[in-house]
Symmetry: C2
Subunit: 282 residues, 2 copies
């Protein structure tokens, strides 16, 4: 069987090797190189720009943690905006919350959505959900046009800060998100590898702290991502509502989840000291 | 510069690639293949049996977590036994606790100790410590001969359950550890990759639960280990003392540590749901 080696884009260091049992799809769109392939160890894999984005086996650690931590932390998340997330995994988790009246997802690349529905049907399963809305378009442009105070939670499920993803890490984008959020709103941008690029999280933290009242980082484990330890920023317009989680809402959903649980919600904000030192210095 | 690829021993899957700037040492001893080399990204690396054991850059996540979690959880850890741990990193952390009157380390392979002192001097820095005792010998044999109730904490800093490491994962070894511990004693064996071998942690949990009153698992992140997420079992003769940590003792040491902190102590026992399901079924 063929093997494909994934290298870190900057250091060229191997971060993962996948054995490929079947190549499913490969296309360079206007925005990025898209590849789908089957692996014996991690199931179907989606790579964007030559970087592993989703694997069937370990996607829960990413999708459940980017969504459930802010959605359970928010007292009543009725309107949720997802920027990116073309594979549909984040949307699938968001609509599990009965409080969500409408989940709007803005993805720039229609091919990612279309092919995820074909090759990752268990991830891309919520596009037809009655409370889901899919918009193919530019995320920054969407928030620029959006009404002030119209969302409770914004999730930035972007690629890393390269190519089309760069604008989603700018102070301008964060400022627009702040404006578009209601007064107790929460913004969660994925914040890259804490092992290989902790300075990216430090930079994101610095930008967010200039705009948001509370900024903290939390982590998840995604074995097929470089270093395994992945960061999310948690930026809140009001005081960070860590302690105010309604655990009954959590208990009602826990059986449907494979990664997130109440103990992890409390635990995921604890960072190793050496990472805390880098982030606090940012 | 030469590159060396580390594969999982069973699946042959690449788990890490290191660029080697200088080869320092290579020898097959009676017990195992030992290699030391320099890398630009992770500093000096020690590999045992072709598996990365220690890297200068990320060893704190392993050595601080195997030692400080049980040592701070124990109300008064005066006598500590380390089985394995030839690189000296665990011993270095144990003697930081002023309560420890004597830390005894039993390592089977004198060459690992000798060469770690030469090539990893910041890890192997505590062998001459006045409260440290180094014994070159067989760990199972040592606990068989040891007096009942003579230790407060036992740390099993072994290789994975292959070759010479196999006996350190047997019910007989755990039963001897239980006998050798005082009544409020704690045993912490390293318990392998939660990503690639969660069934090993499940098996360890099953064996320990037959002997110890409380058995829980906690995790650390070691980027150069397969999957990044590493498990330790925490087996206590009495009730597990999670809540009784003396945080003043923690505060007095935190400045000297690079990974462990009070928030992580509380957090590290929270496991992702899919891993909890495998371990609870074990």
């Amino acid at each position: 069987m063929a093997k494909v080696v994934f290298r870190d884009p900057l250091t060229k260091h191997i971060v993962f090797e996948h054995t490929i049992s079947e190549y499913l799809f490969s296309q360079e769109t206007e925005y990025q190189q898209i590849d789908f392939f089957e692996t014996p160890q991690f199931g179907t894999v989606l790579a964007l720009g030559g970087v592993v984005n989703v694997t069937e086996r370990d996607e829960a650690g990413y999708h459940e943690m980017i969504s459930h931590v802010p959605l359970f932390a928010h007292p009543n998340p009725r309107r949720v905006l997802i920027i990116g997330g073309g594979d549909g995994g984040t949307l699938r988790e968001v609509v599990k919350h009965p409080e969500v009246e409408k989940a709007t997802m803005v993805e720039i690349d229609a091919v990612v959505v279309e092919k995820s529905r074909e090759f990752l049907p268990e991830t891309a399963c919520a596009f037809e959900h009655p409370r889901a809305e899919l918009i193919i378009g530019d995320g920054l442009e969407y928030v620029r046009q959006a009404q002030s105070g119209s969302f409770d939670v914004i999730l930035v499920d972007s690629t890393d800060p390269v190519d089309a993803g760069v604008v989603l890490f700018t102070p301008e984008f964060y400022a627009e998100c702040h404006r578009v959020l209601r007064e107790d709103g929460i913004l969660v941008p994925q914040s890259d590898s804490l092992i290989f690029y902790p300075e990216r999280a430090a930079q994101i933290g610095q930008s967010l702290r200039e705009i948001f009242a509370g900024v903290h980082f939390y982590t998840t484990n995604v074995p097929t991502y470089p270093g395994g330890l992945w960061a999310f920023a948690f930026a809140s317009k009001g005081p960070p509502p860590f302690e105010e989680v309604n655990w009954e809402r959590v208990a009602a959903l826990e059986d449907q989840l494979n990664y997130y649980n109440a103990a992890l919600h409390r635990a995921c904000f604890a960072l190793p000291t050496y990472i805390r030192r880098i982030i606090d210095a940012g």
